[in-house]
Symmetry: C2
Subunit: 335 residues, 2 copies
């Protein structure tokens, strides 16, 4: 038996949009008046971003970005993480970089000089806790392929990618190289579909990647499952997709989540939450909990439970970065 | 009888530091390790600010500034407000300006080009909810006297000033001119002592202003009362200061607040709070509630109650800007 290579330096390395969330509560009428896509994510240009910001109430700024949120959760749970993403050389870029590093996550992508500024996501949160996101990608869309080299990707057990990155052109190319690098190194590739509208634009790409067996762990919510499989029936969609990926995780909001792997199906109910304040990051943090269990070799049911606990924490306050001690929450529940 | 002049356009105009708060939870050991002044406000330079930020955990950014927080509360209650303060022409300056205007507050001070950047306050919040503030004044200390003209000051029933502004030189001079303008126009001058350490540096100035009868409404907490009067005994301090100002309001944290005016003493208990999350802005929001009652001509006891309600709201979450509907809270309590 040959000696195994030295163990990976990181549990998870993620590539994602480097975004600062700008969040404000709003009433339902505002969503209608501004013509926003309630509950969805819309890409906006500089002018739209300015107009929407002007229409927004007093806000707070909290680092975000889907994959970055997942890493923040993973790192809080004790996983060793690294992030690759593009910020600009400006104050919001400093905020993003500070928050990711302060969470114990390795982050070495150099800030990009000049325009455009760091990405931000204008998030309108309605009284039911639903978030309506309007993303100005800014510097994030200029992540160069040079920012990730094969050696770095090979250093992590799992490469985690967000579907959102398929929208901008440069990161999309970088992503494909990263997947190839991870597979060459024998690492796992985890992918989150991100948003039904991303699938509307890039579903063919995603289906091709899945068909080619490039995705080991796939995260989706019900809407994304429907968009990807073309079936509105949950069971039908699940049955169609499950055989194509080794691990399929589908979150179902207040109905918990399901994982199908090795032909077996596991389910977890949603964790009770006193009050849903802001659902931003619910899927991201579910992925964090699940992946934590996965990289620690825990049983699937336990990984799902971790996911549910992390998702419950994140929706009980503003922002998609954990506030409570996730380690404690997860530890207390499984003890 | 001569016709009165047209009623003032604003209820309250405030001059204050234009600051974005950068807030993160921390444990008690961190306060000790970093050598911070627990519960206090310390001015820091660029290098200290950078070092402290690096030592800080993942944070969130929420507009702050003592007088600006008070206005945010006043405007949320329905008062007509204007703010004067200096931001730089940068992203944090945009954040501050957006939040103050989005709150319905008039804000016309032009952003200042070039260095230094917009002021920020690095706030470490310990598990007991106590906040330890480290302020980098940046652009805020360059508020020019030209930013406020006598006509603008005369447009508000009350001029509200924060003691913090005595630290930087330019605003201090601007402040004195503003007080003179308000008095010339027959307006009231309200002043908050801000911090015991500000009094340590500028107590003589404050005492001279009070002696000269330039302050109509004075806000202090117990520590500031002690620092200003030189007496550690609350009753002794109150008895010494009360005859010198028409309206004296002293907040006492969990022991509520006291107002002495016209030789009469009024008191209010603290509003019950489920959990004290972050005490940042407690005094600022107490002042907001009290001033709202004052400008609406409500009885003193009721104004104190408004103050207690607003303070309770602000300490129940992160940040010094109101999240709940203050109008509703105040209305429900006095209905």
């Amino acid at each position: 038996m040959s000696h195994p290579a030295s163990p990976p330096a990181f549990d998870v390395i993620a590539i994602g949009n480097a975004i600062v969330d700008v969040m404000a509560p709003c009433d339902d009428a505002t969503i209608v008046r501004l013509g926003l896509l309630r509950g969805g994510m819309t890409l906006v240009d500089t002018d739209s971003a300015r107009a929407l910001y002007e229409a927004m109430g007093p806000a707070r700024e909290i680092s975000g970005g889907s994959a970055a949120n997942t890493l923040a959760g993973l790192a809080a749970l004790g996983a060793r993480c690294a992030f690759i993403g593009q910020v600009a050389d400006d104050q919001l870029g400093e905020v993003f970089a500070h928050d990711i590093r302060a969470g114990g996550i390795a982050f070495a992508t150099p800030a990009r000089a000049g325009d455009p500024p760091t990405a931000r996501c204008l998030i309108f949160v309605t009284p039911d806790g639903q978030r309506t996101m309007n993303t100005y990608l800014g510097a994030s869309q200029f992540l160069p392929a040079a920012a990730l080299d094969a050696a770095t990707i090979a250093e992590a057990s799992v490469l985690y990618l967000e579907g959102y990155l398929w929208d901008p052109e440069e990161p999309r190319a970088a992503m494909r190289r990263a997947i190839a690098a991870a597979r060459d190194a024998g690492r796992e590739v985890a992918f989150t579909l991100s948003d039904a509208f991303v699938i509307a634009r890039h579903g063919d790409d995603f289906r091709a990647m899945i068909d080619a067996g490039e995705i080991d762990i796939l995260f989706a919510n019900e809407h994304e499952l429907a968009a990807l499989t073309g079936s509105d029936d949950f069971e039908e969609g699940l049955a169609a997709l499950a055989p194509q990926v080794p691990v399929l995780v589908v979150t179902r909001s207040e109905n918990g989540a399901v994982c199908v792997t090795g032909g077996e199906r596991f389910a977890v109910p949603a964790e009770p939450v006193e009050r849903v304040v802001d659902t931003t990051g619910a899927g991201d943090l579910f992925a964090a909990g699940f992946l934590f269990g996965h990289v620690r070799g825990r049983p699937v049911g336990e990984s799902l439970k971790f996911g549910a606990i992390c998702a419950a924490e994140i929706i009980s306050h503003y922002g998609a970065r954990p506030e409570a001690d996730l380690k404690l929450l997860v530890g207390a529940q499984v003890a």
